[in-house]
Amino acid sequence: MDTYPVLTVAQLAIFLSFLSAVLPLLFLRQPYLLVRTAFLLLGSAGLAAAWAGGVTLLTNHAEQVVLPIGLPWLHVFLRIDPLAGFFFFIVGFVTFTTACYGPAYLREHIGGPHPVGTLTFFTGLFVGGMLLVLLAADAFSFMIAWELMSVASYFLVAYQHHKAENRSAAFIYLLMAVVGGAFILLAYGVLAGFSDSFSFTAMAAAPLSPTWATIAFVLAFIGFGMKAGIVPLHVWLPQAHPVAPSHISALMSGVMLKVAIYGFVRFVYSLIGVIHWQWGVAVLLVGAASAVLGVLYALMQHDLKRLLAYHSVENIGIIYIGLGLSMIFHATGHMEIAALALIAALYHCLNHALFKSLLFLGAGAVLQQTRQHDMEKMGGLIRRMPVTATCFLVGCISISALPPFNGFVSEWLTYQAALQGPVLRSGILGAIIPVASAMLALTGALATACFVKVYGVIFLGLPRSPQITEAREASLGMRSAQVILALCCLLFGIFPTWAVSAINVIAENLLGTGLLKDASDGWLWLTPIGKQTASYGALPILLGLLASWLLVYFFLHPLKRDNQIRIAPAWECGFGPLTPRMQYTASAFAMPLRRVFSYLWYIREKFEPPQHGKPARYSLQVSDWLWLFLYLPIGKLILHLAKRASLIQGGNLRVYLAYSFFTLLFLLWVIV
């Protein structure tokens, strides 16, 4: 069959996710049936979306439909093309794995203080909203879907609202989502002002002067950036993610942030079209700052989900570095290298969705079994949760960008794009780009440090508190979701050429050209620029690793000798048995880095030596400068102004009547 009904299936996916919100409400009395139905429908929505997106991307198909719903002069335009299809695939696939994970995870919320129906209802709306954002081809439906996505996720974040800090975190999230939405609305407004309708095709054809284009770009950058989580607009991320249920955090971090990236890419590349190199430099610098600051903040956290949230900031920074490079090369006319950088950024979107969801799902399993948020109380969980531990290890290796997994491939592509910097004749740009790459290298190394800490403290060593010993392996649904994601991380790491040639289609559509046709050297070698310049054969490397492992193993295990390993107690220097308190804690592990980079955080460290028989006390508080010195003062200023403005509300009846009286006088004067 030549053409697949992708747009129909995509709309079906949206319908199924809305159905998964509404239909299970029939089963409010039977929570187990409710949860199963909801996730069954959500899973099928995810599969449909993944299929539709994947097929669109692979067949380079584009289809548009105009729905007659909505206002008479503002129809709803829906369009699927390779860019939307790629993100559709990401959203659908992660939703599917979350749906496998969900029923077992929600078992503990059934019978809890809040009804499970709320959770499944808003999850369905959330996923449906995201899919609708990807399909929307006119500004109006885009904004409606965007707000639906934001509001539905607010309710999900505020699910456990019996605690005050959860409520305030959800409030910050909603506030920033709404402010970001306002910026996006203004950006679309600028574009719509120069075109005759709200549809994307009309806006793409609109002629913009450079000033107005820059204004639209800045508005879109701030608006989409607030949702994506770049520094300094990231403060909602570390507050909202720990509070939401883990599978929702996986969806938000893995998928919602990517929808923001989609919006930004669509806006800048399709709708504005003509890109200035200064925009690229701004995006590059903001991306580099987000990457470094994100990982440095993450290093200091010991709440597992907050740490993962800060790592999302870091990875969004890496994606923005790729986008910035792409914009710089696009503006100076080097389209193939711009395509390479764009492919690197989009590939990282896919990879981040996969490994971040994997990490959040694993964290959810750990948190469910140990009932702890604090890493400092965990330890030794690899023995009790082996499958979760193995999948989490795969996630840790992927996010640290280590070969042969997928995180490494997208970083490799970003470095290759950055290395083409000398092609730009300007020396200053040629210097900024390698410095940004050095910042990327610093980020990668710090991410490795952070995940050694996370994995070592949580899964290895000895349990640091008694309730950890009661943890059991997660149930089949949760395990299978993690295994699927881990396998995908491996597959996208060792077969990168297929993904790159698929994403190349997007680059061709947006930029006019993709990678050089004669650059590729077959499916085994990833050679984006040319065989001589750089090549990476991931599968042969993996085979070489396995071959040398086997060789060494068999060399060291000759048949004649007794190769038994003796298990003995760990050596404890003769002082007595090891206690779990002797291990390194997470704060201790991060201490050298904390001292080296101490000027980047607001640190309050207090140590009281032991006295009068009381034990020593140590407290460490690491806070975000931006939150303390930018957001809190702005909040205080707004409250102050609001208090001043509230003087209007005197409470006196005669004052209110006087307001009406003087307004009437004014209007009479103006009209006459």
Binding site: P403, Q416, P422, G427, S437, A445, V452, L556, M582, Y584
Partner: protein, 314 residues
């Protein structure tokens, strides 16, 4: 086909000669310190002895502990296969370039650090924590130095870089002088030599690499020691082949190969002598001075890159 066989043979040679390089450096250090010292081939005896002994594993260790030596050694061997040592005509160099090499070293460090955290003792955590700090600070300098080299040679493929510099006549590049200085400092940090880490220390508080492998014994320890020696040899090969690339064979013809083997071995022995002298003259610095050391390496690499842009292009 012959070039593949040559690549495998070359890798085996490097793997088998790595203990001699470490032994040579140690022998020279002892001679400089007026001691008798072990013979240069003592590491071979040590590795053989360790591989015959029974391995003891702590009760609290997990499968990561038992798998880590194999993973570390295999990754180091694969890294050895992509670096051009005696000749640049190596098809394996197309498998992975400079950035993948950095990624391999990062993978080794990841698993070593995890193994250090595994048993639940304080020393392992100490070693892992220090190791990841130093590597995190060394990585930007390392990558910047490699970038300067790659920008000069317009490629990140290791064979292409070495042959580009080996085939051109002697040109003084300020950028390469600075990047090489930065790279040498980073190599000292990454291979765990004085002034960052003392490879011969017996005090746990001064260990970094040794602290992470403190719990290992028997064949596991043999693999980890061999991997460390191989890493030292690989960094030495990178230094000699990038800074003084003349003499490396451009093909695998027997005559060129013989010259290549002799010149590279000679250069490695001389570099070993310089390393021994540097280790004898300096003292190990305290951990919180290591960031200054690595900051200096970064500034040197940055200066190298800036010199390239300002002085050498157009």
């Amino acid at each position: 086909m012959t070039s593949w066989i040559f690549a495998i043979v070359q890798t085996l040679c490097v793997v088998l000669l790595a203990p001699f390089m470490a032994g040579w450096v140690k022998w020279l250090k002892c001679k400089l310190q007026n001691r008798q010292g072990p013979a240069p081939w003592q590491p071979y005896r040590d590795l053989l002895r360790l591989s015959k002994k029974q391995a003891v594993v702590a009760e609290t260790a997990s499968p990561v502990f038992r798998a880590a030596p194999y993973i570390v050694f295999s990754v180091t061997v694969v890294a050895a296969s992509i670096i051009p040592v005696f000749s640049v005509e190596m098809p394996t160099a197309a498998l992975a370039d400079v950035i993948v090499l950095v990624g391999f070293f990062a993978l080794i460090r990841f698993f070593l650090s995890l193994a250090g955290m595994d048993v639940g003792t304080a020393f392992g955590g100490m070693g892992s924590s220090r190791e990841v700090t130093i590597s995190a600070l060394a990585e930007p300098a390392l990558l910047m130095a490699f970038f300067t080299l790659a920008m000069n040679a317009s490629s990140t493929n290791l064979s292409t870089v070495v042959s580009h510099f080996g085939q051109s006549q002697f040109i003084l590049h300020p950028s390469l002088i600075f990047s090489s200085m930065g790279f040498i400092l980073v190599a000292l940090a990454e291979t765990g030599r004085i002034p960052i880490d003392n490879p011969a220390t017996h005090l746990e508080l001064t260990m970094i690499h040794e602290a992470m492998i403190l719990e290992y014994s028997g064949r596991h320890l043999a693999l980890l020691e061999w991997a460390a020696m191989l890493k030292l040899t690989l960094y030495s090969v990178l230094i000699v082949n990038f800074i003084i690339p003349w003499g490396v064979a451009m093909t695998i013809a027997p005559q060129a190969l013989a010259i290549g083997v002799l010149s590279v071995t000679g250069k490695l022995l001389i570099l070993g002598a310089f390393l021994a002298i540097a280790e004898t003259v300096q003292a190990k610095m305290r951990l919180f001075r290591a960031p200054h050391f690595l900051g200096l390496a970064f500034i040197l690499s940055l200066l190298g890159m800036i010199s390239h842009i300002v002085l050498e292009v157009r």
